[in-house]
């Protein structure tokens, strides 16, 4: 069972990543450092969330 805060965070992260990839693909600016920047932000929020709940 996934609780509501986790569900909201997962949907938020998914939208964030999909939007980022779509946006950077569109203007052909998706470089490795930019991708890593989004990825690290995602990992950071998920790691903190896990530390609070698990």
């Amino acid at each position: 069972m996934i609780n509501l805060p986790l569900r909201i965070l997962l949907i938020g992260v998914l939208l964030y990543l999909v939007f980022a990839i779509w946006h950077h693909k569109k203007d052909k600016s998706l470089t490795f450092p930019i991708f890593i920047e989004y990825l690290l932000t995602t990992i950071l929020v998920l790691v903190i969330f896990m530390g609070v709940t698990i």
């Binding site: 964030y16 980022a20 903190i48 609070v52």
Partner: protein
Amino acid sequence: MTNNMSLHNWFLPHKDTHKKAHLLNLEAMLIYVLLFIGLQVGFSIFSYLKPGVLGVAGNIETKKVIELTNVERAKKGLGIVVENEALNKAAYLKGQNMFQENYWAHFAPSGKSPWDFIQGAGYRFTYAGENLAKNFYNSDDVVVAWMNSPSHRDNLLNEHYKDIGVAVVTGILNGQETTLVVQEFGTTEFLANKPAVSVSGKQVSVPTAALNNASSVVSTLVQGSETKLSPPVLDPYLFTKYAGVSVISFLAGLMVIDLIVLKKRGVLRLGSHHIAHMSILGVAAATILASGPGAIL
């Protein structure tokens, strides 16, 4: 080089190149991630080395849990469940056993089942059920969590139940001080089906052999003198929550400063993606603040 490493470059975009503050760059982000992973690993190792120092101190009352359960039942037009001493004992024995065998489940690693505790405590049921909770801070949150889970809600609002027993037991589980809440429901009234127990949304028929040897099972249960534990020194979940929200707020603050400074300089960097980052940081802060370590089973 000296100019690049000056203090204001850690917090503000670079004067000449307008690059992001050092504390917002990739290396800094990697360090934040590693720090929080290290914190979790550190808590796990420390819990193993020094059991009981870390943990959650809950303030949960059995009477309040029973009262809130009956409030929820009344909302659905169901009869109240009456506190039963034998079920209270069964719940207490179950909680103690989880600490003794160090598990978090309806069935013990040694094979003990919910009906072993209920029958062993002297409650001859025809239908029974069990809800478990751990690491909650108050009684209201426990019942709300059960009500938000379909299988636990079905158990709590089952029309067959007439009696209830609740125990709040504190002990060391996986090296951390933990408050367990065990809720046992039951009825001794005759039902058409053979005796069954409802756990995790499933009806489990009680084996005939188990009905006959309940007294022998209960003799193996250590009723244990409850050792008075001092409150844990540190709550790792609350610590992570406050540290996490602080770091997230700090990063969002740096991004706002970055945007303001660059706007003032007239060199707004469109490739900063700050709005997207701030949005996800905001969602993360809200969900982290709304979350806790409470778990139900």
